[in-house]
């Protein structure tokens, strides 16, 4: 991050010991503070205590974030950090952050979080922020560490700062790890007279309440479907079909439009800003997952509640 290039710098710290973490993270943040930048530490409760102690009296100048609240699923995690960064950048022209990343032990989730790290490069690409994602190398499985090198342009470890030769274009990586949506034949059509957004909400609400889904989650689905339906009407030549049902224990709603659709692996993951709409960002916050795919009949958005 230089005055000429205020955009995001997204790097990783791979450390072998707590001492190494402190030796890297504390001077990194202190240097920013000396230059009038904001400082953010995201870590577990114990990690935050350790960093508070390391900063001493200066801990009051640091914003601490409990990662226990942050790493739920990528869309929510991005929104959570967006809040923290936006608040910090209201107080200082730039910021530095050290964020300990929580992958969890389930290998089925690793691609999900590697995808999150990839999309981070684009989601906050416009922010004057230097973010150092920290990984404890001890006990972190090799595939996760490999993902670190693929999603961070620079990595600092025991050998110092290294420009990653394995860094992969975020869009390309996301396309590579995102599974092709499978057909869900058991979904059924919702009949419509004149498909507008209000009618989509009414019919969908009837199905959701009849299924026994609680009010809060019903409203979340209605709001997400509103965003998708509005997009279909505005950009997709109108709504062609709406299908609903259950798959893998979740309620699913597919909205198909008549347009050519889009091919954007980060759709809905970019923090809203000038030129970037917030519709899909909002829809992703409210629901479990949203998939987009083309079929001979049209372009389909699939919402998983």
């Amino acid at each position: 991050m230089t005055p000429d290039n205020p955009a995001l710098r997204h790097n990783a710290l791979v450390y072998q010991s707590v001492d190494e973490y402190l030796t890297r993270a504390v001077p990194f943040l202190r240097h920013g503070l000396e230059q009038g930048e904001g400082a953010i530490v995201a870590h577990t409760k114990a990690g935050i205590s350790m960093m508070r102690e390391a900063f001493g009296a200066d801990a009051t100048r640091v914003t601490f974030v409990d990662v226990g609240s942050a790493y739920t699923r990528p869309a929510r995690t991005l929104a959570a950090y967006h809040q923290v960064y936006a608040e910090q950048l209201r107080r200082t022209p730039k910021l530095r952050a050290v964020a300990d990343v929580q992958f969890g032990p389930d290998p089925r989730e690793w691609d999900l979080w590697t995808g999150y790290e990839a999309v981070f490069n684009r989601s906050f690409g416009h922010l004057p922020a230097w973010v150092l994602c920290s990984y404890n190398a001890n006990g972190t499985p090799d595939p996760i560490i490999e993902g670190v090198w693929r999603t961070h342009p620079e990595v600092v470890d025991g050998d110092g700062w290294t420009s990653s030769g394995r860094f992969e274009d975020p869009d390309r990586l996301l396309r590579r790890i995102t599974p092709t949506p499978e057909l869900i034949p058991q979904l059924r059509q919702i009949p419509f007279d004149d498909i507008d957004t209000e009618q989509v909400r009414e019919r969908l609400a009837a199905v959701l309440t009849a299924t026994g889904i609680d009010e809060t989650r019903t409203l979340e689905m209605l709001l997400a479907a509103t965003e998708i339906a509005d997009n279909a009407i505005r950009h997709g030549g109108g709504i062609a079909d709406v299908r609903v049902g259950h798959a893998h224990g979740r309620f699913v709603c597919e909205i198909e439009d008549r347009g050519p659709g889009f091919d954007d692996p980060v759709a809905g993951y970019l923090a809203p800003r000038e030129g970037i709409g917030s519709g899909l960002w909002v829809a992703r916050q409210l629901t479990w997952q949203i998939e987009f795919f083309r079929s001979p009949a049209g372009f389909t958005s699939r919402i998983w509640l």
Partner: protein, 203 residues
């Protein structure tokens, strides 16, 4: 059950019944997914799981050993029953042929230690409670009349009514009621387009 057996890790001290019940439940989900309400983990449960992971990582870093459910309970504020259930969803794979004591050929394999799961009902109750506890009430941002229009129109917690019926009850035209709904939806959307809330531990 075989799935559960393959993935269970006795070193983590979670009772096998709590763990196996997740897999029994998962198989049941797949069988009845079309007929039942969604039963996958709620957002709240996922958030709780995230807390458990963070607390576990803290403990591992400090002590080099796995925390007990009681220690995780103390660290997260979740009940031991919730901890058990959440941890049971978060296991890595383990083979039934794997020996309980590594490099000890006489040791029993993990598959030989399996007992019959008996506590599906207990797990069900915990998971249901997690669902009930999930109260991200979006409508808190709305004025009373806006909330009433949205809930009535879409039948949330009551029979659905048309905008004309709702308007008549409020002494308003259907068009005015539609405008109130539209404003309410806009307000909800704008609130969500703003950055989400995250727990700051102090500045």
């Amino acid at each position: 059950m075989l799935f559960a057996a393959r993935r269970y890790d006795p070193a983590l001290e979670t009772p096998f019944w709590a763990y196996a019940s997740f897999w029994v439940r998962k198989a049941m989900q797949e069988l009845v997914a079309e007929l039942t309400r969604p039963v996958a983990l709620s957002d709240r449960a996922v958030r709780d799981l995230s807390h458990v992971r963070a607390a576990r990582n803290d403990y591992l870093q400090q002590h080099g050993t796995e925390p007990t459910d009681g220690q995780l309970s103390a660290a997260t504020g979740l009940t031991p029953a919730q901890i058990e259930s959440l941890r049971a969803t978060d296991r890595t794979a383990r083979s039934t042929d794997e020996r309980l004591i590594e490099q000890e050929p006489a040791s029993m394999t993990f598959g030989e230690t399996i007992v019959d799961p008996r506590a599906e009902q207990a797990y069900q109750e915990v998971l249901d409670q997690l669902e009930i506890d999930h109260v991200l009430d979006l409508t808190d941002a709305l004025e009373e009349r806006e909330r009433m229009v949205i809930l009535s129109h879409y039948g949330l917690g009551q029979e659905p009514r048309t905008l004309s019926q709702i308007g008549a009850a409020l002494g308003l035209t259907a068009e005015r009621t539609r405008q109130i709904e539209s404003a309410a939806l806009h307000k909800l959307r704008e609130n969500l387009a703003q950055p989400a809330t995250i727990a700051l531990t102090g500045t």
